[in-house]
């Protein structure tokens, strides 16, 4: 039996972006973007589920983000995870990778008991690949990045094939270990219809509060209990649940700041038009030869 925690992230679909989604302070207004499940994280989840299928154990999915990030946790439930956690708090907003990994590591300490942490190599909104290693460092555990394949798992070690520049290597690690995975490491399974039916009504406490809307606090407690009993509760973690230093969270705890954002302009000074004819190409070759490009 091996327990896994999977770090997942809801990301803006960076294929469809305009300048308007950037706020004046240079941060991203994610509310304006189509949000998707970061694909490499989905692959990481698949690996964790494969470990569970083969050896037994528990898979827990964790995300940090705004309330709507619970969408991808619901998807995790459809795919077969046992438990989900949404780490959300205004105080966590604007976090760079260092502040993110600090909060993630504190939440993981609270969630506890695991052999593996899986995560995608990087998320497509930042492409930094930093949160995995930084979370591992904060937890004081080893890391394997750029994983391509789990080769084997035995009593107290795991062998992982990882990509390196110009080839690959196989690493053997003790537990616990954090592993970040490449997109080809596994093919994510489709949703299971039964689970979609079962979990489509999974809700976080904030969702339930909206349902209650003004009714008594006692009632919300009852509702939370009910959802928990039915495994329909998306667990929420806020600063109140963690023993965190506020100075190390969110924008306050982020050493890197966005100083300036510019749209990309890579225009040349205009080009010389060449006719697609024998004469045209002949003159082009002449010009290039004169400029000593050839030879």
């Amino acid at each position: 039996m091996y327990n896994s925690i999977v770090l997942v992230k809801q990301v803006p679909d960076t294929a469809n972006i305009s300048g308007k989604v950037m706020r004046d302070d240079g941060t991203v207004n994610r509310a304006k973007l189509p949000a998707i499940f970061n694909y490499e994280d989905k692959v990481a989840l698949e690996l964790a589920l494969q470990v569970k299928d083969r050896f037994g154990g528990k898979v827990t999915a964790v995300t940090m983000g705004p309330q709507r990030a619970s969408d991808i946790l619901r998807e995790c439930l459809y795919l077969g995870v046992d438990d989900v956690y949404l780490i959300t708090d205004r105080k966590f907003a604007g976090a760079d990778t260092l502040a993110t990994s600090y909060v993630l590591s504190e939440a993981i300490k609270k969630i506890g008991d695991f052999h593996f942490i899986f995560a995608g190599r990087q998320a497509i909104d930042g492409d930094t690949a930093q949160v995995g290693p930084q979370t591992a460092e904060k937890l004081g555990i080893p890391q394997i990045t750029y994983a391509e394949q789990i080769v084997d798992i035995q009593d107290n070690w795991i062998k992982v094939r990882r990509r390196i520049d110009g080839g690959y290597e196989v690493l053997k690690s003790t537990f616990p270990v954090l592993i970040t995975v490449l997109k080809d490491a596994a093919e994510p399974r489709p949703f299971r219809l039964k689970r979609v039916m079962a979990y489509k009504n999974a809700k976080s406490i904030t969702d339930l509060e909206k349902v209650v809307d003004g009714n008594s606090l006692l009632y919300i407690d009852k509702l939370v209990h009910e959802y928990k009993e039915k495994s329909l509760l998306i667990n929420t973690i806020t600063t109140d649940d963690l023993d965190v230093d506020a100075e190390r969270c969110g924008i306050k705890g982020s050493p890197t700041k966005v100083h300036k954002i510019e749209s990309v302009v890579l225009a040349g000074e205009g080009h010389i038009k060449i006719d697609p004819t024998k004469a045209g190409l002949s003159s082009l070759v002449d010009q290039l030869a004169q400029d000593h490009i050839f030879g």
């Binding site: 960076t14 294929a15 972006i17 760079d96 990778t97 260092l98 990994s101 497509i124 909104d125 930042g126 492409d127 930094t128 690949a129 930093q130 290693p133 930084q134 591992a136 460092e137 080893p142 890391q143 394997i144 990045t145 750029y146 390196i164 520049d165 110009g166 080839g167 690959y168 290597e169 690493l171 053997k172 690690s173 003790t174 270990v177 050493p255 890197t256 700041k257 966005v258 100083h259 954002i261 510019e262 749209s263 990309v264 890579l266 225009a267 040349g268 080009h271 010389i272 060449i274 697609p276 004819t277 024998k278 045209g280 190409l281 002949s282 082009l284 070759v285 002449d286 490009i293 050839f294």
Partner: protein
């Protein structure tokens, strides 16, 4: 922020005892950054029997080399390498530490930045020193870390104003590698390494490397094809033209995804950055991610049948036409000229 130096450190990556080009590219850039601040440039070399590499870093501008040489450090391993760097950084407080944005660099840098609570920016395409006013406060000689963000749609300038050490990883081939005319006297500080148990939680069981036969970065002429060529058959035209001109073939990401060409020949943000004497883009529309990897080429020829293709914006010569007609004419004109 006491005892903060103005020093720039470059982590020198070595694979099987050979230094990575990107490390020397970073030294060349680091030399300029150190000069701008009035600090020193130091190379950090970790490995086994790698003194030669430490010596070589002086050809690229190092003032001093920190050498950590030990049999157990022969191959890159996150835990011992990061521990060595953490201890050195905490002791010496460099102002800037640079890493190549390679697999190892992107594995190591965040681990070190986390431990030392430094700011770290990934995959920078440019670095500058500048005075900055941020939120009403003046900062002297900050490192401007310039990188594409959001899939290459925007360029962000990142700063780490309030921490002692600013760290960045930089993509291979983005900075120019320049040997200095008069290298400084060689000054190597050998630093002792004593293994501890937690350095060995991960071990390497097997390693497999193939020397890449592809050298796009060094090719003076590159003929690149895109998805617009339509088929693998048409892609043969790229081979023909490259062969005629004595150049290398390359492709856009779309061409790689379509299976027209192998991924090691991909030019662009997620591929290789090139600046050849001549870059011929055939059937490449010129998405920003592609242009980012080739727009500094000396001469660019765009061949495309779409007059609105953005590739024409960065081209020096534009040929509006069908590749299957233009390329044979190109080959014929070239052969005729050389006769």
């Amino acid at each position: 922020m006491n005892n903060i130096t103005k020093d720039v450190w470059v982590f020198i990556e070595q694979r099987e005892g050979k230094p990575a080009d990107v490390s020397f590219e970073l030294l060349s850039k680091g030399r300029k950054l150190a000069d701008n601040m009035g600090g020193e440039l130091k190379s950090v070399v970790i490995g086994h029997n790698v003194k030669e590499i430490a010596i070589e870093t002086f050809s690229y501008g190092a003032d001093e080399s920190l050498l950590i040489d030990h049999p157990e450090l022969k191959d890159f391993l996150t835990l011992p390498y990061s521990r060595v760097l953490n201890e050195l950084i905490i002791e010496h407080q460099p102002r800037i530490v640079l890493f190549g944005a390679t697999v190892f660099g992107r594995d190591l840098a965040p681990r070190v930045a986390s431990h030392t609570k430094s700011g770290l920016t990934a995959d920078c395409t440019d670095l500058k020193i500048s005075n900055v006013n941020y939120l009403g406060k003046d900062y002297e000689d900050l490192l401007l870390q310039i990188r594409p963000a959001f899939g290459g749609n925007i360029i962000a300038t990142i700063i780490s104003p309030d921490v002692p050490t600013q760290m960045a990883t930089v993509r291979e081939g983005v900075m120019e590698m320049v040997k200095v005319e008069k290298p400084k006297d060689i000054k190597i500080s050998e630093i002792k390494y004593s293994p501890i148990d937690t350095d060995k939680l991960i071990e390497i069981i097997e390693q497999h490397r193939e020397e890449s036969k592809v050298n796009l970065k060094g090719a003076p002429i590159i003929v690149a094809g895109g998805y617009g060529l339509g088929s693998k058959e048409n892609f043969k035209l790229i081979h023909d033209l490259a062969q005629t001109l004595g150049g290398e073939i390359a492709g856009s990401r779309a061409a790689v995804d379509a299976g027209f060409i192998s991924s090691e020949r991909q030019v662009g943000q997620t591929g290789v950055t090139v600046r050849p004497k001549l870059y011929i883009a055939v059937g490449i529309s010129g998405a920003i991610q592609h242009r980012a990897g080739m727009h500094e080429s000396n001469k660019i020829i765009a061949i495309n049948n779409d007059p609105d293709a953005p590739i024409f914006d960065v081209a020096h010569y534009g040929i509006l036409g069908d590749a299957t007609e233009v390329i044979p004419l190109f080959i014929e004109a070239y052969k005729h000229k050389l006769k």
